[in-house]
Amino acid sequence: MTGPVPLCPTAHAALRYDRHAAGATRRFVRIGLSELAFAAADMPLCLAKDGQTGRFNLIALMALVEPANLFVFGGGFQATYVPRAALLGGFRLHDGGVEGLAIDPADPTLGETGEPLFEQGAPTPLPGRIRTALTEVIADMQAAQALVDRYAALRLIRSLPLSLQLAGGGEHDLAGLYTIDEAAMRALPDAALIALHRADALAPAAVMAASLAQTERLRQLHNARFAPAVDRVTLG
């Protein structure tokens, strides 16, 4: 497996970007604060710890048992909203590349189909647009991080046991997920609740909690494509 490499007009002259292939191999994706309400229309939103820092990241869950994105089938991302980190998963900011970009050659969006990144040796407008979008999504994720840090500081996060009962009697547990602790939220003093509300931090918590109902959507998508079927999803 190779890591990201700087975007280069010669080495990547024929490379194309296909947005319809985005996120095919992703089981979850980080989302930014502004995406929360949109992503909740399709996906359960929860928290998972970052492997390097241990801090909680806001994520959209897109898989259950199989290591595959349940929303990607039939040649596209079958959801009302595609998280931007999934769309841009093939790109990183990198000072040494064209338009300040590096690419992950293993990402499914990069290949022989889709929009060209270069024409006649010069960058098309696409790399510039991607650079702008990437900068925005990073800032948006930082805003989400600040919100989640605030929840963590107030001890408003709890572990989210998620257990799947499989047809035939098997069981599959998803570990490492966290969610808003609604009981702890209710127990907050009035002043702390008002402060959260004034900081626009209450509504996102409610959206996150409500989005867990989308695990049923994931169950249906799983059962349409994979066996054994998931009979029931149990959230602790």
């Binding site: 970052d50 820092t53 963590a152 996060i157 966290y178």
Partner: protein, 522 residues
């Protein structure tokens, strides 16, 4: 029942801890936290001399420390940051069996696989010819983690939890400071700086108060003697005899030095290394900022100068300019630990070479027994004292026997120290009897008197089989259900090794992440 104290049902409301090292501050914090948790009206005061330096022994803990810190209310992040702490996953004993190159074995902190279901030892013994390898490696994955320098937890795990059992290496001085700040600032311990001059006694032999050198008087209902080797109360006031064990464990001196890392990215060893020497052994522990190394030795078998030379050889050129700190070990313990309304905790209760890092563990175990069951009245104290004394006399006997086990199994005959260690007169009867039993039966829970032994059968198995103790357990039928169960656990252990080898982080990387980002709390 007669009330020989004359104190009747006087409630225990004022607890006075005397001494401010690790023992004193662990005691004060545990008592104050326990009182706070139960809503009790117990006030805790710690009296500490400005003029008595702390010994600072005990830079290695047991996994029990995770519970102790959680009970006190100190986060693992704060602990690791404040005490330069690193993780410890057990001990590796080098050169203890025959002293030849490659002679080494692990005593990991994980119990053997399937410990609650099956005794793996006979299956390992009869599987050796089929390549079962070292006992610790066959029954558990922690030796692999230690060898590979991998941590027992990752940054995404909760506080005090890991993918392997673990303890800590820590800076004892910084630990006492952290406990003091937490005890005074968070738990409400009253901190009195002053030298104890005279105890004031009741007519019935209890301590009523301590008069300090500056004339102040600290009154109390219950006193915890954490005054270290001075043993001001248990020895000075009550003259409780000290039972020495130098005839069993010969080490009576130690010298230590603190060795900086050569670079800030040097690997931090994730276990204690205990390397046998001509007349003792050298400990080597890794902290975040430095290594701590020390030579424990018998002055009857080697001179101080020769011992220091051995320590400096071990340290290498990096230790040439460093001063060694010398410690006298008067190995043994009090014949009673709790007398009247006074209990001794820490070095005042006893001291022994740190071969299995028992010093801090004994403080914690003592405070588990005291803080969680603090007598409500003076009348209840004598019953508690009898229980406590019986329990800790037993613990000390077992600790002495377990440390001696490391010496009696040696096949080394190269120095008088090792030859003397296997002399029959130096081996406690209880240990000798068990060793005879264990030639034919693997150590198991039924071999011990107490339900909660400080060293239980898994520890004995690791040492016995690590040192190649000659055992002849009944042959196991390879077609039996037990054999299948043992193979299943061995296979599970092999899978765990593969998985952790691939995903467990480097020890220093995890410590760096914790210091930088902290462990998230939920």
């Amino acid at each position: 029942m007669s009330d020989r104290t004359g104190a009747g049902d006087r409630p225990v409301r004022r607890v006075v801890v005397v001494g401010g090292g690790s023992a004193g501050w662990i005691a004060a914090c545990r008592l104050a936290a326990s009182a706070g948790r139960t809503g009790g009206d117990v006030a805790v005061t710690l009296v500490e001399s400005r003029n008595v330096p702390t010994i600072g022994v005990g830079e290695g803990t047991w996994p029990t420390m995770r519970n102790t810190l959680a009970k006190i209310g100190i986060t693992e992040t704060d602990f690791i940051r404040s005490c330069d702490a690193a993780f410890k996953q057990g001990a590796r004993f080098v050169g203890w069996t025959d002293g030849t190159p490659g002679d080494a074995y692990y005593h990991p902190l994980n119990p053997p696989a399937g410990a609650t279901e099956i005794d793996m030892a006979p299956h390992w013994l009869h599987g050796r010819e089929k390549g079962a390898g070292d006992f610790a490696d066959w029954v558990d994955y922690q030796a692999m983690l230690c060898d590979a320098g991998l941590a027992p937890k990752s940054i995404v795990m909760p506080e005090y939890a890991g993918h392997a059992n673990y303890a800590y290496h820590l800076d004892a001085g910084k630990f006492a400071t952290l406990l003091r700040d937490h005890g005074v600032g968070v738990l409400g311990v009253e901190h009195v700086l002053g030298d104890v001059a005279t105890p004031r006694m009741t007519d019935h032999g209890d301590i009523a108060a301590l008069e300090l050198a500056d004339g102040r008087v600290v009154e109390g209902d219950f006193f915890v003697d954490c005054t270290g080797f001075a043993a001001l109360l248990i020895g000075g006031v009550y003259e409780v005899p000290f039972r020495r064990c130098g005839d069993i464990l010969f080490a009576d001196r130690a010298m230590a030095l603190q060795l900086p890392y050569e670079s800030e990215d040097d690997a931090i060893t994730c276990h204690t290394v205990a390397t046998a020497q001509d007349a003792g052994w050298i400990w080597d522990i890794g902290l975040w900022t430095r290594r701590g190394i020390g030579h424990v030795y018998s002055s009857a078998h080697i001179s101080d100068d020769a011992a220091e030379a051995a320590l400096r050889r071990y340290a290498g050129p990096g230790g040439d300019a460093l001063n060694v700190r010398r410690i006298t070990i008067d190995a043994g313990h009090r014949t009673r630990f709790w007398q009247n309304n006074c209990v001794a905790v820490g070095l005042s209760a006893g001291f022994i070479e740190p071969l299995e890092a028992s010093a801090l563990m004994l403080i914690e175990t003592s405070m588990d027994a005291i803080a969680d069951r603090l007598p409500r009245t003076r009348a209840a104290m004598d019953v508690m004292a009898r229980q406590f004394n019986a329990t800790f006399t037993h613990h000390w006997m077992r600790i002495i026997e377990f440390l001696k086990l490391h010496y009696v199994l040696t096949r080394r005959t190269d120095t008088e120290f090792w030859r003397d260690n296997v002399a029959a007169a130096s081996i406690p009867d209880g240990l000798r009897e068990r060793l005879e039993l264990w030639r034919h039966h693997s150590p198991g829970p039924q071999d011990f008197d107490h339900a909660r032994e400080v060293f239980s059968w898994p520890s004995y198995q690791y040492i016995l089989h690590g040192m190649g103790f000659a055992s002849a357990y009944p042959r196991v039928d390879p077609a039996s259900p037990d054999a299948a169960t043992a193979q299943r656990f061995a296979a599970r252990n092999a899978r765990a090794k593969d998985e952790l080898r691939a995903r467990a982080p480097r020890h220093r990387d995890v410590l760096r992440a914790i210091r930088e980002h902290g462990l998230q709390r939920v």
